[in-house]
């Protein structure tokens, strides 16, 4: 393997990892943008999506539906997982965050952390401690650029996540609800005065963000081939780092941040001692927060927000 293909391969690896991080980071950035709360449970919502995906897929596989209607299967798997997690997101918002909207910041963070621990252990008890195999429907066939290989599954996932990101950007910029979301994020009091239903807007945010996380969960399951109850934790940290890096609250920022975090991880492992990979991610996160708390594409962050 020559150097050129080596670098291309590592860039493909980074792009793939980055697009998954970006998709999860979008959920953080939306929720944070609108109520300024780290949704600690987001990682668990991502895992829940992966589990629902596996449940639907396993059921479809039993009936032999997968072979005959491959595209419909994919739509069903992604749709069901996203729908379920959207409902779960709204439920969590209603139970754990809404009553605390006016309470102290500490209380809200702790409630979010509590929800995260609760969900992850709930999934452990209901879905088992060991990892579950995802029915492998994507396969490992692919094509080569020089000596670098990329599978069709990877292409599919990268394209799908890009599509979802574009769709989200269009939704937020062009639809009425999206505009209401942006208004609420900027100034809640003002938005309320202008007749925007704040509760409804927050609910919608808590549907879309987690649904994107669920899509990422299904992608991870489909491509990597297994899910486990505690896999959300690592993705949560990385995706949150991505969201902050890009500038929390900004949708292009989250995508950029995801790509950068994915890139840092892959390229560090590729050229430097791999055992320090995670330390590097955390150091990057801390440095960004210290030097530029508003992130790369973030708007100004006032003293009270940081």
């Amino acid at each position: 393997m020559d150097t050129a293909s080596f670098i291309i391969q590592q860039l493909i690896n980074a792009l793939f990892l980055g697009s998954i991080f970006a998709l999860i980071a979008l959920g953080y950035t939306m929720v944070y943008g609108i109520i300024e709360l780290i949704n600690f449970a987001h990682g668990e919502l991502f895992t829940a999506g992966a589990f629902i995906g596996i449940i639907v897929l396993a059921a479809l596989q039993k009936t032999g539906f997968v072979e005959s209607h491959f595209v419909i299967t994919l739509i069903l798997v992604f749709g069901m997982a996203m729908a379920y997690v959207a409902v779960l997101g709204v439920a969590i918002e209603h139970v754990a965050y809404k009553p605390l909207r006016r309470a102290s910041r500490l209380a809200a963070i702790l409630s979010a952390l509590g929800m995260s621990i609760f969900l992850s252990n709930g999934m452990m008890l209901s879905q088992g401690v060991s990892d579950r195999a995802y029915p492998s429907i994507l396969g490992i066939e692919g094509f080569s650029i020089l000596d670098a290989r990329i599978t069709y599954g990877q292409v599919f996932i990268i394209v799908l996540s890009l599509l979802l990101m574009v769709a989200l950007q269009m939704f937020v910029n062009w639809t009425k609800l999206g505009k209401a979301m942006r208004a609420t994020a900027q100034n809640q009091t003002m938005a309320r005065m202008l007749g925007i239903d704040i509760d409804k807007t927050i609910r919608v945010t808590f549907m879309i963000g987690p649904a994107l996380g669920a899509a990422a969960g299904v992608m991870v399951g489909l491509y990597y081939g297994s899910v486990r109850f505690d896999m959300g934790f690592i993705y949560m940290i990385k995706a949150f780092a991505a969201a902050i890096l890009g500038g929390i609250g900004s949708i292009p920022g989250a995508v950029l941040g995801g790509m950068i975090i994915g890139g840092v991880e892959v390229l560090w492992s590729a050229f430097l001692p791999s055992e320090w990979k995670d330390v590097t991610t955390f150091v990057v996160l801390i440095l960004v927060l210290y030097l530029r708390p508003s992130g790369i594409l973030g708007e100004h962050v006032s003293e009270t927000r940081v």
Partner: protein, 376 residues
């Protein structure tokens, strides 16, 4: 004086109670992670010991005891919790303990057990420090890290006859023990050059960066010192990246789940694992275990735990519950179990070598024996 008085009172109570309730219950304890990420293996261990007790009781039990009770202890793979669990077992008056799983729990837990002079047989911990610290009453079922590393290097040198080797570990106690030992053994004869030592994070899903790095180096064999969840993902990604190197892994990956998740990509992977003798007892045990726990497969540590439970009970039957006698009996007897012949050396380690297995048609198949240097 006061303390003595209270103690006597408690003792009297305890004696009174015990003579009233179950006069002749033999208790043996287990230590394994029943909660947390390793709970699956921990449950396998508990179930293995319980199966041993059931089988033993069916065969007549131990004269002088009406009942054999298993007292479960949750070590949670954590030093603090493991000592608490060990103390709990000591207090409930167990005659012997099977456990624990993680070496990082077994080592701290063995201290109170040693002080209380209770026989401990670990069905899983392979770190060299578990035995050989001057503790006489600790025994170990699986081969030590260095024994497994020896088999691995022997296979690479004399079986595959390769030149270059790359190592991957996930920086946990077990896997680092293996890669360190392999590095040392490989240096001895200097037939194999270790060209890379890479590390991954347990819990990660994407190992393509490290695998691409190794693809470029292109070693003859890549050794995966990881646990099953990461190992299964790694073989898939290696296949997807088109790695030409052969993959070799160890007993922590030897699990039905590896075949399930790895699928076709797992084909051709070599693994080191204890020899599974095709005996009638083993088949019978598998049948009993599956019936008893409604399980599809027997977890790898279930076998060791069953054997540990069986020899513990046999020892008590032969020698009573006096620790010194038990230790002598355990040490001087050659047992036969479902994991083969069991004979402990002066440290409490078993003379058992791993053999090399290969994944073929979705099954683990024995492949090469390092002791005889021959194919199966």
């Amino acid at each position: 004086m006061k303390r003595f008085g209270i103690f006597m009172l408690l003792l009297a109570f305890m004696l009174g109670f015990s003579s009233m309730a179950a006069a002749k219950t033999l208790k043996i304890g287990t230590l394994s992670p029943l909660t947390g990420p390793y709970a699956q293996d921990g449950t396998d261990i508990l179930q293995g010991v319980k199966t041993a007790v059931a089988v033993f009781e069916k065969a007549g039990g131990i004269p002088g005891y009406d009942k054999i009770e298993v007292v479960p202890g949750d070590s949670a793979c954590d030093g603090g919790k493991a000592t608490m669990a060990a103390n709990k077992l000591i207090n409930s008056g167990v005659a012997g303990v099977v456990g624990a799983y993680c070496s990082s729990a077994t080592i701290p837990a063995s201290v109170p057990l040693n002080q209380a002079n209770i026989v401990q047989i670990t069905p899983a911990s392979t770190h060299t420090d578990v035995t050989g610290r001057g503790f006489k009453q600790i025994f170990r079922m699986p081969p030590r890290d260095d024994v497994q590393a020896w088999s691995t290097v022997k296979f690479l040198e004399d079986g595959l006859k390769i030149k270059t080797l790359a190592l991957i570990d996930d920086r946990q106690t077990y896997t680092v023990g293996l890669t360190e030992n392999i590095t040392e053994f490989a240096k001895e004869k200097n037939k194999i050059k270790i060209v890379a030592l890479e590390h991954i994070t347990p819990g990660d899903k994407d190992f393509t960066a490290v695998l691409t790095k190794l693809k470029r180096i292109n070693p003859d064999v890549i050794y995966m010192g990881v646990y099953q969840p990461e190992g299964s993902l790694m073989v898939r990604q290696a296949k997807a990246l088109g790695l030409k190197s052969k993959l070799l892994s160890e007993d922590a990956v030897f699990h039905p789940k590896f075949l399930e998740v790895g699928g076709k990509a797992a084909e051709g992977t070599y693994l080191t694992f204890a020899k599974a003798p095709e005996t009638k007892e083993r088949k019978e045990f598998e049948k009993t275990y599956k019936n008893m726990w409604k399980a599809k497969t027997v977890g790898s540590y279930g076998y060791y735990a069953y054997d540990a439970g069986m020899i513990l009970l046999e020892t008590i039957k032969k020698a009573g519950t006096k620790t010194n006698k038990m230790v002598d009996t355990l040490r001087n007897t050659t047992w036969s179990g479902v994991t083969g012949e069991i004979k402990f050396d002066y440290k409490g380690d078993r003379k058992l070598a791993h053999v090399i297995w290969i994944v073929k048609d979705g099954k683990f198949v024995p492949y090469w024996d390092p002791l005889t240097e021959s194919y199966f």
